[in-house]
Amino acid sequence: MSGFMAIFRKELADHFSSKRFIILFLLVYLAGVATIYVAAQTIRSGITETTQFIFLRLFIVSGENLPFSFPLFLSLFIPIVGIALGFDAINSERNSGNLSRLLSQPLFRDSVINAKFLAGLVTLAILIISIVALVSGMGLRMIGVPPNAEEILRLFAFIFVSIVYGAFWMSLAVLFSVFFNRTANSALASIALWIFLFLFLATIARVMADSMVPVDQSSTLEILTRNDGIYRAISRISPSTLYGEAVQVLLMPELGTPSSTLMMISIFAAGMIPGPLPLSQSLLIVWPQMTGLIALTALCFAVSYLRFMREEIRST
């Protein structure tokens, strides 16, 4: 166990002292503060007497100057942080000649990858908890409305989902770092996959849904729903979609199920503004998304673990 703790301590110290993470932390803090600042300024416009979760609105509204809500910006930055934490975990050790020296010390080989993963996870958790705490505190001062108990619990759930989302990207990057020998390749592969899942998958899903169930202005609600169902099914391949849906349900209790803007418009247009769901129901709804994210993370980690354990240390 001494080996595991030693590696864990060193990795954690590395993360917090490296320039890479100081830059990332600053970037994330700055962007987070900016979104909440804009949100706090525009929050008044959307609030009516019946609005129940005022504090949570802080996290979902966006201003005209900065069309990013806090979760949207997090869903953009968390993958970058996760990839930065993992992309060179194993191959940089190998390239620098540290790996064979490290593995000749009396420790189990899996301690190396376990400790690295755990250290990344802890770093990620500290980053996300601190940014949410920071913007909550700032929002509290700016709008002066304290969160109620349920809002706090929902924020905790939001933090948890965000950490799992980051863990997925980190384990994906670790996976690439085990398979690719060069750090540049593993970084590029992770970023390419991220861009594909984040930007292009939605477009592909839209095209496929429209070709399978074409919609036009005269389409019935049933056809619209079917079209939307296909679109969601395809875009759920992307962990970003899973995260987005989970966050939507957790931070917008008024929303029954995760649904696209299109569906929301039609629901609101039909005058079916639903009452807010209790927290337990929201959690039940996001359960598939959460387990999906956790399973993907575990899968990536398991594959990289197996590959790392079976890897031969060769002389060249």
Binding site: G3, R9, S96, N98, S100, S104, L107, R314
Partner: protein, 311 residues
């Protein structure tokens, strides 16, 4: 052998797909020896070391380090061995002391002893005044010496040093060889691999010569030298106008000549001392004309080359 056997291998074999990196290696190294693994690049020296460390699994055969099987009890082996890889690397952002501290913590050395041990190890390799410098600023030779400090900090019973002197200037090499001798004085069994033969010869009590995965010779340096020199220490090449059988016979009768080979108008004469004057006389006494004569002395390099060529 009255010494305890520290390392013993039986038919140790490692195959990569269709090529045998190490082929039925039988090795026996006693306590306190400095064993030099010699051989050209790709002879299987590093693969053997990796198998003895438990970093690579043998395809067949067994290895024992102090009675432990590295493939089955890797932790027991790794606790008592130190390893300096060929391309040793350190965390470049950390200082030399911090790198050693990390190794110490991985080995579970109590915190109270760590600063003293680091100080001691750095001092013995001559890096104590740069202990607080980042390793990124170190030269190759300094990194190599830090690597030896890294091995020494865990007080190993066996040290595997893979090419410890490759790419290092003569002065640095001397320093490293002195460190290896120092380790041997402290009863550490040292296994070092190298292709720089004359350096190894200065520190090793035993050498093993490996080519293409096989151990072609093992023993003390001087004995191997004698065996290799059966054909004589000197080789005299003589060009004559025409080679007559009578001349060859006459040359063979010259005292000190070990053997005579002829090819074309060349005669190759092996002997243990410089017999040029006598040979010249013998040739002149016969009916042949002496065209030219050259002498070559066999050095260690040639001895090893002879082994490498034979396999």
């Amino acid at each position: 052998m009255d010494q305890q056997k520290v390392i013993e291998t039986k038919d140790l074999t490692k195959r990569y797909r269709n090529f045998a990196a190490v082929d039925k290696l039988n090795l026996c190294i006693g306590e306190g020896e400095v064993f030099g693994f010699l051989g050209p690049n790709g002879a299987g020296k590093t693969t053997t070391i990796l198998m003895l460390l438990g970093l690579t699994e043998p395809t067949s055969g067994t290895a024992r380090v102090y009675g432990h099987d590295p493939a089955r009890e890797p932790l027991k082996v790794k606790r008592i061995v130190g390893y300096l890889p060929e391309k040793v690397g350190f965390y470049e952002d950390l200082t030399a002391s911090e790198n050693l501290e990390y190794t110490a913590s991985l080995n579970g050395i109590p915190w109270s002893e760590v600063p003293n041990k680091i100080e001691e190890a750095l001092r013995s390799v001559g890096l104590h005044d740069v202990g607080r410098k980042r390793v990124g600023e170190f030269s190759h030779g300094m990194k190599q010496r830090l690597g030896i400090a890294d091995v020494m900090i865990k007080d190993p019973k066996v040290a595997f040093l893979d090419e410890p002197t490759s790419g290092i200037d003569p002065e640095g090499t001397e320093h490293i060889l002195a460190l290896i001798k120092g380790m041997a004085r402290n009863k550490v069994t040292v296994v070092l691999s190298s292709h720089q033969l004359h350096q190894v010869q200065k520190v090793c009590t035993q050498v093993g010569i490996m080519t293409k995965g096989r151990l072609v010779a093992q023993g003390p340096v001087d004995r191997l030298g004698r065996e290799a020199l059966r054909g004589g220490k000197y080789r005299i090449e003589v060009q004559v106008s025409r080679v007559a059988p009578a001349l060859v016979d006459a040359l063979k009768r010259v005292p000190g000549v070990i053997d005579v080979e002829s090819s074309g108008d060349l005669l190759l004469i092996g002997c243990n001392e410089d017999l040029r004057p006598k040979i010249a006389r013998t040739i002149v006494d016969s009916d042949c004309l002496l065209v030219q004569m050259k002498i070559e002395e066999y050095g260690l390099e040639e001895i090893y080359m002879k082994y490498f060529r034979e396999s």
